[in-house]
């Protein structure tokens, strides 16, 4: 069997997804045995020019991580889409925006102003901002355009499969790699490397009646490690999040942060969570509701921590 051509790319990301791929440990050698890696900036050499020179469809599978924050991210996404038979949105940023998409709560110009003018370590009295084109004596330099809005991958190119997680767990990555190698892939558009049920389904904690009198921030209590975190007043995203991660945060006595994204059929994870939180609040009068809500520090940032690109409301740039 001919070797597969594999590309891994990072757009607006942290590199954590690439490291998660390396976390399959010695199995990475098995990947190298069945696939040639044509592009993987973090680990091997390979230039955009090499990809541009390829025939369309040369790459068998592209694992694309990171959000689409600027015109370079978009350009490479389109380039890799053209050259790849299978395009995989890999990790929360590519699937739904992830942490970088929290910037959708802010105006584009405010982000630039803060970063390049106002931070304490910045000295920029002339207020110089990056330009997409800049003339220098030797020629013209260019930089990508910083977009107004942080997009996820399927908002700019067609995506064949989704692998959620921040980052996806090594075990799940290995499952995905095996599915690719064996050609045993689910129908196009499927989410792979995650379950179809909520995290609560695989959470081993004792679940009783969900009635919450007040919410706690994680530093305010030490939760009982046996009982459901939501019942103890911690905002656990488990009920509205896909399982498949092995409940790692829960095992560390921390509430789920929702990185595996919404359940099948749900279009807005945060909205669903508002719905479920509303029904477990053990209060009746509007005044009690108001004071209970005071105990939630940052509702939107918590409910949409990894999903701002796919949120129905478009934040500061609607």
């Amino acid at each position: 069997m001919a070797k597969l051509n594999l590309a891994l790319y990072w757009a607006s990301s942290c590199g954590g997804c690439d490291v998660a791929v390396l976390d399959v440990n010695e199995k990475i050698l098995d990947i190298a045995a069945v696939a040639d890696i044509v592009l993987w900036p973090v680990a091997v050499d390979g230039k955009y020019a090499d990809i541009e020179a390829m025939e369309p469809g040369t790459i068998d599978v592209c694992l694309f991580n990171g959000a689409v924050r600027n015109s370079e991210n978009e350009h490479i996404a389109m380039l890799l889409r053209e050259k790849s038979k299978v395009m995989v949105a890999f990790g929360s940023c590519a699937v739904s925006g992830g942490i970088p998409a929290l910037a959708n709560f802010k105006e584009r110009d405010e982000v630039l102003k803060r970063v390049f003018m106002e931070t304490p370590s910045t000295v920029n009295p002339e207020g110089v901002l990056p330009l997409t084109r800049c003339e220098v004596p030797e020629g013209t330099l260019s930089l990508p355009e910083f977009y107004k809005y942080v997009h996820c991958l399927d908002q700019v190119v067609e995506v064949d499969y989704y692998v959620p997680g921040c980052p996806p767990t090594p075990q799940r990555i290995w499952d995905v790699v095996q599915a690719i190698v064996s050609g045993n892939l689910p129908p196009r558009g499927a989410t792979v490397g995650a379950t179809e049920k909520s995290l609560c389904d695989e959470c081993k904690r004792i679940k009783q009646n969900k009635k919450v009198k007040r919410f706690y921030r994680v530093h305010e209590i030490i939760p009982d490690p046996e009982r459901c975190l939501l019942e103890q007043g911690l905002l656990c995203m488990g009920p509205v999040t896909r399982g498949g991660c092995g409940a790692q945060c829960i095992s560390a006595n921390m509430p789920c942060r929702g990185c595996y994204g919404p359940l099948p059929g749900v279009i807005d994870q945060g909205a669903k969570y508002i719905s479920s939180i509303g029904s477990i609040m053990d209060v009746q009068s509007p005044e009690e509701v108001e004071s209970l809500l005071e105990t939630i520090a940052d509702p939107a940032g918590t409910f949409y921590r990894f999903g701002m690109s796919t949120a129905l409301l478009r934040g500061a740039n609607r």
């Binding site: 977009y147 909205a271 939180i277 009746q284 129905l312 934040g315």
Partner: protein, 144 residues
């Protein structure tokens, strides 16, 4: 902005508020035609997804009306509304959406005139706020 006619989506509970709207109609009370009514079995059925989807697809305001607390046909459906909507309003504010665009009201089947009054007042509030969409970017639409 004077010529702006806002689009308002109204989720009315079957047992009280929809009947209240009916009464307003039967009583020939005048109220603005900006409201598009969607009948739901209970205000507790109104998932925040409905509200967000309405706004993202062209509504400028959303009205959610149900039975008065204690009067719910399903005992406590409207208590869920009472808890969900304020949380949703907090989230809306963080998204930079004026919370006046979403209004929760208790309207019984006997309160046709209150219904007409609420729609009148709410339409004017939303008219003053202007269109919901600022730059017309669609979800998943044009990149930029």
């Amino acid at each position: 902005m004077e010529n702006f006619e806002p689009k308002i989506i109204g989720f009315l509970c079957n047992w009280c508020s929809y009947a209240g709207a009916d009464l307003a109609g039967v009583g020939r009370m005048q109220y603005p035609s900006n409201l598009r009514v969607i009948r739901v079995m209970c205000s507790g059925r109104v998932d925040p997804t409905f509200v967000f989807k309405a706004l993202s697809e062209g509504a400028d305001g959303v009205l959610i009306a149900g039975c008065h607390p204690g009067d719910c046909h399903y005992t406590d459906g409207n208590y869920n509304t009472l808890k969900r909507i304020p949380l949703m309003l907090k989230v809306l504010e963080q998204f930079g959406v004026e919370k006046e665009r979403v209004r929760m009201e208790w309207i019984s089947a006997a309160e046709g005139s209150i219904f007409a009054g609420v729609v009148k007042e709410f339409t004017e509030t939303v008219r003053k706020l202007g269109p919901y969409k600022r730059n017309g970017l669609e979800r998943g639409g044009k990149v930029g």
